[in-house]
Subunit: 358 residues, 2 copies
DNA sequence: TTTTTAATTGACAGCGCTTGTATATTTGGC
DNA sequence: GCCAAATATACAAGCGCTGTCAATTAAAAA
């Protein structure tokens, strides 16, 4: 007879599964169900032209044998990898933004045959070449890009050349065929509107990093709200930031040293808002009594800090999820175009109140 | 002649690479270098019995053609996936802890032929079965487990049965052959020692969630420090927590309502420390003037909050990195055992000071 | 019923790589 | 210069799956 370890058919089925703990193969399922391998493959891949009774029998066999298709074999034969790659930058410090997006991406893959590969790429000059290498190795069926890569026109161009489906999150570029985001401009206007409705007249703004869509959109929203309230835009109340805590501290210093300092500050993200709160703390200013502070993003810190930070909850997880779902659709329908705007949430907490009130 | 799209050899090399953007195959490299496929394979897989001049020529060809081996084909043929899977729980909320570990894991894979697959598994009863499915699908060469899965004896047992190499991070179990961590007990003792050295005599402690090694170790460290300072352990100063902000708030309430409230509180993680700070804030207590607070973990919030939170920086990234490196070694040497303790850092910030001082 | 057409199923090749066997070539020690 | 050891080649097989296309079956039409 055959050596046990190598025999793989018929009678030794029991031995393979129960004793050798070897995973079942499609061939085993086919034998168990009494059909051809190809038919099992059809069921696995969601083809509809399999008669109901056969389909049921096959599905039972799959369950009985605990069969799960081997991803590598599938990928090799089908010229599809069942991989969605998430490309982000800054390998050394993952922001809570990216973290949340990742959660959404993984969530969207769950229950599908697709899996996520995460890959940090720093924004080097040879980015396109490095993407080529990455693609050659993994052949991802789709990519999801977050800023700043989502704003890299050369990169998108290269992906078009390679004919790889991708979706972006919060991209500034019109080249992106599928983009997921939310109305940042309106959200910023909403939160500044909230400060205005509390009675604030002089509202400072700390902007985001140049080149990011977020900087532009949030700044525009700030201006929109002021305009709507009939308050003149005062350039001296707007300070450049770069999304870091330190920038928030520095900006707060500038704003609080102003001849007529603002009674509220809207920072373009939560980290900078924390920096503003730090500077207020150092100066012994009470929040919101002497200064109201608002952030943007809804990172975990906004809940943990005291007082709780008023902010906009950005739907990061939902965006990650939607980005994957859309791009998977686009695999089937390459002509697909989509600009999806997801709902955001104003998160009113204790850091904002009427001016002069404790 | 041949149809362009299908011709793959010799003269059409240029066409394939430059125009069709098709990735090179091992066969192309062999042709380019004028050697056999097998020899290229040897170089790729690090066999030493290839003469230097051939090796150099092949490596040049690889670079010239931008050749990257197809991961699926390699995995299928070689019965190795070059995949390291990171299993963690709680799919809906990735902690900054996990995120940092992920960064370390990805970093460790960078430059090796290995890649990381992330997979959240909630701690369900059928965990072992779901792991089986995951393993059947991806055939990871190695796994990295973080708590709580790292403490799941049945799971580790199953991995032994499946003969899959794994490493754990901060596991409580002695079954784990490779475990990476740091001396949490000593770190906790250090930070409590810091409070003692500032002159605090009554120090409260908010513990972690039951079942976690972190709870036990940090609590033991707390007791160690008190014992060393000759201070009697006072059970009424220790309150159960579960690592959440809300638990920190609740615990602070209990401790601050104490007949003789503590002058300092050591929370078993940063989130709970933030909860303690929130309750102090609500009561108008100044930190560190009227209450010193220490956390544990060194999450981003510890820097962003005001005053800055004194804490222990847990070497998450380094642990993720080390866990991968060790488990990859273990693939070569299955008998390997390792209990690695990495250095941690006391992060002294403004939330701790001498009692009664502002 | 028989013929035509459509839907379902199966046999087989092959995805790109690694491994093994068998054979050929080179190298260096004496 | 010869012989053994080290290195390289050719070739075939096969990893587990899917694509192509032909064979079969069922349904519709005659």
């Amino acid at each position: 007879m055959f050596a046990l370890g190598f025999e793989r058919h018929g009678a030794t089925q029991y031995i393979r599964d129960e004793i050798l703990h070897m995973a079942a193969r499609i061939e085993d399922v086919a034998a168990h169900a009494g059909v051809s391998v190809k038919t099992v493959s059809r069921v696995l891949n969601g083809y509809t032209n399999v008669r109901a009774n056969l389909r049921a029998r096959i599905e039972t066999s799959i369950k009985d044998l605990n069969y799960v298709p081997n991803a590598s074999a599938r990928s090799l034969a089908g010229n599809r990898s069942y991989l969605v790659a998430l490309l982000y930058d800054n390998p050394t410090a993952v922001s809570s933004y990216i973290m949340d997006v990742i959660v959404g991406v993984l969530q969207a893959c769950d229950g599908t045959p697709y899996n996520a590969v995460l890959h940090p790429f720093d924004a080097a000059d040879d980015l396109a070449a490095r993407i080529d290498g990455f693609v050659a190795q993994h052949r991802p069926d789709a990519l999801v890009l977050v800023p700043p890569h989502a704003n890299n026109a050369r990169l998108l161009q290269r992906l078009h050349e390679l004919d790889i489906r991708y979706s972006t999150i919060s991209s500034k570029l019109r080249e992106s065929c599928i983009d997921i985001g939310f109305d940042e401009r309106k959200a910023a206007a909403d939160i500044v509107g909230h400060l205005l409705s509390l009675g604030h007249q002089r509202i400072g703004h700390v902007t985001g990093l140049k080149g990011h869509g977020a900087r532009t959109w949030r700044h525009s929203g700030y201006r929109d709200a002021l305009r709507k309230a009939g308050i003149a835009y005062d350039e001296s109340l707007v300070v450049d930031g770069d999304f870091t805590f330190a920038a928030g501290v520095a900006a707060a210093r500038t704003l609080l040293d102003h001849d007529r300092p603002p009674t509220a500050i809207f920072a373009a993200n939560d980290d900078m808002a924390c920096g503003v709160m730090r500077e207020a703390y150092e100066r012994g200013l009470t929040i919101p009594g002497q200064l109201s502070v608002c952030g943007f993003d809804g990172t975990p810190v906004s809940q943990l800090i005291s007082p709780g930070l008023t902010t906009v909850r950005q739907p990061c997880r939902e965006m990650g999820c939607a980005a994957v779902e859309s791009v998977l659709q686009a695999i089937r329908d390459p002509a697909m175009r989509q600009q999806e705007r997801l709902p955001y949430q104003l998160q009113l907490r204790e850091s904002s109140a009427a001016p002069g009130k404790s």
